[in-house]
Symmetry: C2
Subunit: 406 residues, 2 copies
Amino acid sequence: MNKPNIVILGAGYGGIMTTVKLQKKLGVNDANITLVNKHDYHYQTTWLHENAAGTLHHDRTRLPIKDVVDFSKVNFVQDTVVSIKPEEKKVALENGELDYDYLVVALGFEAATFGIPGLLDNAFTIGNINSARLIREHIEYNFAKYNNETEKKQERLNIVVGGGGFTGIEFVGELANRIPELCKEYDIDRNQVRIINVEAAPTVLPGFDPQLVEYAMNSLEARGVEFKVGAMLKECTPNSILIEKDDKQEEILTNTTVWAAGVRANSLVEESGLEVNRGKVEVQPDLRAPSHPDVFVVGDCALIMNEETGRPYPPTAQIAIQEAELAAKNLAILVGGGTHLESFEFMDRGTVASLGHDDAIGVVFGDKKLFGWSASVMKKMIDNRYLLKLGGLGLLLKKGKFNIFH
Amino acid sequence: MNKPNIVILGAGYGGIMTTVKLQKKLGVNDANITLVNKHDYHYQTTWLHENAAGTLHHDRTRLPIKDVVDFSKVNFVQDTVVSIKPEEKKVALENGELDYDYLVVALGFEAATFGIPGLLDNAFTIGNINSARLIREHIEYNFAKYNNETEKKQERLNIVVGGGGFTGIEFVGELANRIPELCKEYDIDRNQVRIINVEAAPTVLPGFDPQLVEYAMNSLEARGVEFKVGAMLKECTPNSILIEKDDKQEEILTNTTVWAAGVRANSLVEESGLEVNRGKVEVQPDLRAPSHPDVFVVGDCALIMNEETGRPYPPTAQIAIQEAELAAKNLAILVGGGTHLESFEFMDRGTVASLGHDDAIGVVFGDKKLFGWSASVMKKMIDNRYLLKLGGLGLLLKKGKFNIFH
Ligand SMILES: Cc1cc2nc3c(=O)[nH]c(=O)nc-3n(C[C@H](O)[C@H](O)[C@H](O)COP(=O)(O)OP(=O)(O)OC[C@H]3O[C@@H](n4cnc5c(N)ncnc54)[C@H](O)[C@@H]3O)c2cc1C
Ligand SMILES: Cc1cc2nc3c(=O)[nH]c(=O)nc-3n(C[C@H](O)[C@H](O)[C@H](O)COP(=O)(O)OP(=O)(O)OC[C@H]3O[C@@H](n4cnc5c(N)ncnc54)[C@H](O)[C@@H]3O)c2cc1C
């Protein structure tokens, strides 16, 4: 009998959790498991804004894939996926091609710039380890240059963050903590530096409880963050942005625009020919693509409707992990010859947005509002829980966040 | 009776040592002492190449002037000198003007680019804290960008150092130690990075003992430094240099050219109308300007002939410190109404060039050659000796280099 080839694309939350669960459920005689990822490390996307601000080193955020994936059971291929061919049951890589019997697509997200002029070329995005540490260095480089120029350039010290959603707010929270350190490092007056958050909606963190939003804005404003809400980003150049609010346009000089206002699924999904809804595969309850029962899709590439609200669940690490666990389960059933796959049910464990290392806001246990230090502890516990799940106590102790008292 | 105004320009080796010695010799009733400096800190120029490479933080290199200068005895003015007017006995500052009865010019050096096309605009120089940390950040920024570009740009990883003299060699020694760390930080293969030292003379470290030069080149080449000796730097653009050797031209792609092949005295000296020789004031044995007996000149702005060789003593921290001590002594004599000033005699304590934190070459005690670890210990002892002299044991313990075992 032929062992089926299971190919998992991407080693982010969805892909690596699928792999780790699968290697426990299946023996080497049951299936050939192949994991494909661009890098030989896994990173926690939800910590990247800290790497980008420079408050946490990126080596804390990533871990070697071999530390959690058993290479005697899983064939790891470090390569870049260039196209998915569901009709041929093949995946093209930069340096080769793979055949699959079952495929798991877990290629995550990419930035969506909605055609705003100049944004794609001139703004930074927090997408992976490379782009996050580039932002850190870009800000430092501009600060370092400032005092070397006779004519001082304010655009070196203005940082604009486009988007007051989850990611944008978490990022400005880290920046607000980091900037005083950078000012000390480069002999710059803190009052010269501006951190500007631009949000098109009438409020930041749309959808969050208004009391928590107010807490967040107060906390950030007290640390020098300026908010431009109800303001559209119209254009981005290498040293400025143009925003429009109440029909009035304003130009802000800045060398550093970080776009955190839009993500979409990895465009390889749409290009694959798989049927998509808003660029994502609207999966069946068992997480398979409706048209292709041999293709599972998890994480930011998948779309699942929240029956209660009639809108899709937002793309989060939380849901990616839960989907991965079910995908692994259902794959094991299929490999074992079963046909009754389980259906996905989202367990909402709450949402916590950090505002720097010792401040946060969130809603947990259904409707319990948290803010301040206790919320930040909760945030770290959520992150630690993931590490425990992924790699056990060893990984938790190595990579966990235990600095809850400072 | 009127107290004389003593004005000291620059708080580098020469200026700060003059001030510290003077504040011990003179009481507040004897003279008004004013020290002018661009920054409120003193830095050790001889450590700047370490800050530029990123092997030593710049806060280790600088210290607040108030830590060594007694502000109850010395009036400190943080400002930039814009011109010296010896005929009017005035000094123009960016934000004011000072009258003096006695002046000490200790404004150090600036880069000399000899009109090589593009060098002034496109090359970096190691001149002060600002320019040194900019080099550190510039290199890091290029490394951070490298993996963010689909088309890899080798010019981001090539570092060219113009000049194989003392400064250039010390700098490549630090770079050779730093690059492996940067490669780890930015996921870059060490073999992709080039450190290229360009020297016009037939050998690096001209004037040094050939055996020591060979030791230095071997040590640096073993750590991946490439030497281009007998090669002229003809042109520098933002992303390349052009060199010529044996009538053959070669273009090297690089975003980072550090020019360490030429310094001249601060051009304010020449602009002042004081009589100059190669841009410096060739001082009398008592360190005063021949034409202006109320003006002392010390450090890199002063020129003193070595009677034995018939050539000027090279500009070093060592000679600047010794000159400062004599200038302070002679000023005290003048203020006390004396007329018999002492003459300068250079005490050569040897020369040690570092090749990284635990390697060096040098000649001490007249003709004793040193290399390797023992030379690097000697180098640190020289630096520590200066700190002891400047600020006593407290300063030595705070800023000294004691890491001799690793
Ligand atoms: C700054 C930030 C903060 C966030 N904070 C939170 C939070 O607090 N809580 C929360 O629940 N969610 C948060 N999110 C959202 C969350 O990170 C995503 O929903 C989650 O990462 C999606 O998981 P995934 O497995 O689909 O993709 P990812 O985790 O992004 O993984 C995708 C993987 O695929 C690899 N890959 C991509 N393209 C290719 C290719 N062509 N070839 C090979 N490999 C490829 C990537 O290297 C990556 O390892 C945050 C997002 C950001 C950007
Ligand atoms: C990288 C490097 C390594 C070196 N290594 C050695 C070594 O190992 N041994 C050695 O003996 N020599 C070494 N030298 C040479 C040595 O540093 C100089 O000879 C020495 O610094 C000269 O001292 P100075 O007091 O004349 O000037 P500096 O020490 O340069 O001080 C000049 C001061 O004047 C201030 N200043 C300048 N312009 C103005 C202005 N317009 N207004 C107000 N303030 C101003 C500056 O801020 C500075 O504080 C090295 C030089 C470099 C660049």
